[in-house]
């Protein structure tokens, strides 16, 4: 199953998940210039929210009914935590030096991990997540698992809705204005505090979809699943050009494919045979990040900041 098309597909599935999480980093950064390092944990709580809803539903319920309910439950939890973090942890630090909210974010990240670890029933080990009762599908030489199918449908749908929302709605226009010039946005009558809350909420929503997808894809959720996934999604956001929503999705896909390719093929390169395999995946992800930062620091779709005449 190590064919090139299969690896490409694996990369796109994984990349779709990174992209969904990366949206949260990039939206928040675009509007308040904050790297919300607790976002990986918001993704994790989204997964646990979905699991909780599933466990509360009667045994043997059809996944066609359970999945929408799980998505709603996961979204509710993740959005509440994201918006709560903004209101109570970040907003009081709005005027403070950049380092203060950054450290707060890291603290919040650890706190959320430990809360789930200690308080969620049996969460000290990974908790089994329900599976979609169909698939795998074979398309030529490519095998698509049900969790992957969910991802490649959910990611473009979410992305399209977001793109329309940002470009065409009144609130979306206000978000663009706030991202470009928050003071002047206020002069237009835009309540920028409300816009910031909406940015965190959208990030939480996408993280919850990704958290549920993670459970469906890997068959379990765990209290520490947000650490590496969050870091990689952050990489994806920077890769695509932080602040740019299309860049976040593109960065996710590029990162996913690069990671899949590197894990599968790098060991074939003479002299690098010991560098193959899944354990090295994060290394290649961050090597890619370093290369982008060296040669295109604004990211793939980022703009050079020179437009404030």
């Amino acid at each position: 199953m190590n064919t090139l098309p299969q690896q490409l597909a694996n990369g796109l599935f994984l990349g779709s998940m990174y992209g969904l999480i990366a949206i949260g980093y990039t939206m928040v950064y675009g509007i308040v210039q904050l790297i919300n390092f607790a976002h990986g944990e918001i993704f994790m709580t989204g997964g646990f929210g979905a699991l909780t809803v599933y466990l509360a539903l009667p045994d043997g319920i059809s996944m066609w009914i359970a999945l929408p309910a799980m998505l709603v439950g996961g979204a509710l939890v993740a959005v509440l935590i994201a918006v709560g973090a903004e209101r109570f942890a970040y907003r009081p630090l709005r005027g403070a030096p950049r380092l203060a909210p950054l450290i707060t974010a890291i603290g919040l990240s650890l706190a959320l991990q430990q809360l789930v670890f200690n308080l969620y029933p049996n969460a000290k080990a990974a908790r089994v997540f329900p599976q979609l009762p169909f698939g795998p599908y074979h398309l030529g030489s490519v095998t698509v698992q049900s969790g992957d199918l969910f991802l490649i449908i959910a990611a473009p749908v979410c992305m399209a809705i977001l793109a329309f929302f940002v470009r065409l709605s009144r609130t979306g226009r206000a978000m663009q204005a706030t991202a470009q010039d928050p003071d002047t946005a206020q002069l237009m009558g835009i309540d920028t505090n409300r816009i910031i809350v909406i940015a965190f909420a959208i990030g939480g929503l996408f993280a919850a979809v990704a958290g549920t997808a993670y459970g469906l894809k890997y068959g379990s959720v765990s209290y520490d699943m947000g650490f590496l996934a969050g870091l990689k999604a952050f990489t994806a956001a920077v890769l695509g050009g932080i602040g740019n929503i299309y860049g976040a999705m593109l960065g996710g896909l590029v990162l996913g494919v690069a990671e899949a390719m590197a894990t599968a093929y790098i060991a074939d390169v003479p002299g690098m045979h010991q560098l193959g395999g899944q354990g090295w995946a994060p290394v290649w992800a961050f090597v890619l990040l370093i290369l982008v930062l060296l040669f295109r620091p604004q990211g793939l779709l980022g703009e050079r900041v020179a437009d404030r005449a």
């Binding site: 226009r173 002069l187 009558g189």
Partner: protein
């Protein structure tokens, strides 16, 4: 009759440094009032406080009979006070049309908004020609036109213009100043901060000279234009 804007003993500080030290002035409906003075005199700070971006440490602001102190910036526009900020601050990655639409963010009357967008294009034809273009690609003068057009989109009772001619070519400066004169003749009430004191005083009904946070001299535009100390300090005469 009470004035449209009344500022009384306004004081604004950045940390411990007082930038505006108790100024008082008023603007009557239909008037053009100008604040002139050197850099650091507190003119921009005054405008930013009036529009709610800065919080005063003391004093009173009455606009249309209502106190403005403590009202957040995004609610002040709704009361009829529009601010075209120093440095223009157009939204660079949005189109000209989108920038104008944002000026009318709080309005719901779609037809009226369309009409006013058209009015902005009539006032500044270049904006109409480039309506789909990203605002960041405009020249400085064109950005200034857009900033003024955008401020007018809220149909303000009072239009505050901060340094509209700053950094512009002489031709563009003339064009902007002519537009302000045109707005005045249409009855727009304007509070103008301008480093081109000659031009500002020629346009203004009332003028106030600010120095390090205080108003040191007030009078009609014509009086100040002919005042010897003003001529020496601000009009470049010996």
């Amino acid at each position: 009759m009470t004035a449209l804007l009344e500022v009384e003993d306004l004081r604004v500080a950045y940390g411990k440094i007082e930038a505006v030290k108790g100024i008082s002035f008023s603007v009557e409906a239909g008037q053009v009032v100008t604040l002139i003075g050197t850099n650091g005199a507190g003119k921009t700070t005054t405008l930013r406080t009036l529009s709610g971006l800065l919080k005063p440490v003391g004093g009173k602001i009455l606009f249309d009979g209502k106190p403005l102190t403590g009202v957040p910036a995004h609610k002040i526009v709704a009361l009829g006070l529009a601010h075209s900020p120093e440095g223009r601050h157009i939204f660079p990655r949005l189109s000209i049309a989108e920038n104008l639409q944002l000026g009318a963010f709080l309005r719901k009357d779609k037809e009226g908004i369309e009409k006013d967008v058209q009015r902005a294009y009539d006032l500044f034809p270049i904006l109409g020609e480039r309506r789909k273009q990203a605002a960041g690609t405009l020249s400085g003068g064109e950005q200034q036109m857009l900033a003024m057009g955008r401020a007018l989109m809220s149909r303000p009772k009072l239009l505050m213009l901060d340094e509209p001619s700053m950094g512009l070519s002489p031709i563009m400066m003339q064009k902007i100043l002519a537009t302000i004169a045109e707005l005045k003749s249409q009855g727009t009430t304007i509070l103008l901060v301008e480093q081109n004191a000659q031009a500002a005083l020629s346009l203004a009904d009332q003028g106030h000279v600010m120095e390090v946070g205080s108003i040191v001299l007030s009078g009609t535009g014509q009086d100040l234009l002919h005042d010897e100390s003003v001529r020496k300090a601000y009009l470049g005469e010996d």
